[in-house]
Amino acid sequence: MAAPLVNAPKRVRRGEVFEVRTLISHPMETGFRPGTNGTIIPRDIIEHVRCRFAGETVLDMALSPAVSANPYLVFYVRADAGGALEMEWTGDKGFSASYSTAIVVE
């Protein structure tokens, strides 16, 4: 599986609100679909996406099977102080992925 793709600015001005865009490979199998042999394909989804910036929570999103495969998420962060933008995706079957990048606030 590919690493998550995260698009965020490297530098922002203090107090600025910046956009973060993320994409991650995942089937988001609903748990309602029959497979080739007629039995239901077990649910396999990302259940949570969390983002922290400079040690504090930006958001915590709970996903259902109704979120599309290869989840795409755009959200907005306030840059009061610089620090690490940390993302975490967790889900069924022990799925876990993370991403971290430093953002300079000037």
Partner: protein, 149 residues
């Protein structure tokens, strides 16, 4: 024209995949799911912009943007945002809790819609007030669906 290449003519695919198996969400189950969030508190229309194209050609990939009007300051914050639907197998789509670093109460993502239906967003504010908005989306499903191989 009847070339026979209709959704019903094919095995597998989205229509079969999402619709007939589970007891699907209905307007009532959606209302119940919303009540789990709101309880008996009043829910007012407004403050939310729920943006989905009204006509969608494939329900597997439905772009959605939700924005709640709020300064996102200590005194005026959106604490949580929930999205529900009427006709997928389950009424929940997603829930977002916003923390102190959230710059706006706004997200964009993509969702699955099993049929033409209403999508509803509910926002919880730091002052305890609740706001809602809904949108009707028409979903046409891809015609030639991949057979199960």
């Amino acid at each position: 024209m009847n070339v026979g290449c209709t959704r019903r003519a094919f095995a597998g695919g989205f229509a079969v995949a999402l619709l007939p198996l589970a007891a699907n969400a209905t307007p009532e189950t959606m209302r119940e799911a919303i009540r789990e969030v709101t309880g008996d508190r009043a829910v007012r229309g407004g403050r939310i912009v729920l943006d989905i194209q009204p006509l969608i050609d494939n329900g597997n990939t439905v772009p959605m943007r939700v924005r709640v009007e709020s300064a996102m300051t200590d005194g005026d914050r959106v604490t949580a945002l929930h999205v529900f639907n009427e006709k997928n197998p389950q009424p929940h789509v997603l829930s977002v809790r916003f923390g102190p670093r959230a710059g706006r109460a706004e997200i964009a993502t993509r969702i699955k819609l099993a049929d033409t239906q209403k999508v509803v967003a509910v926002a919880e504010m730091s002052d305890g007030s609740l706001w809602t908005a809904g949108i009707d989306v028409i979903v046409t499903i891809a015609a030639c669906i991949e057979g199960l191989e």
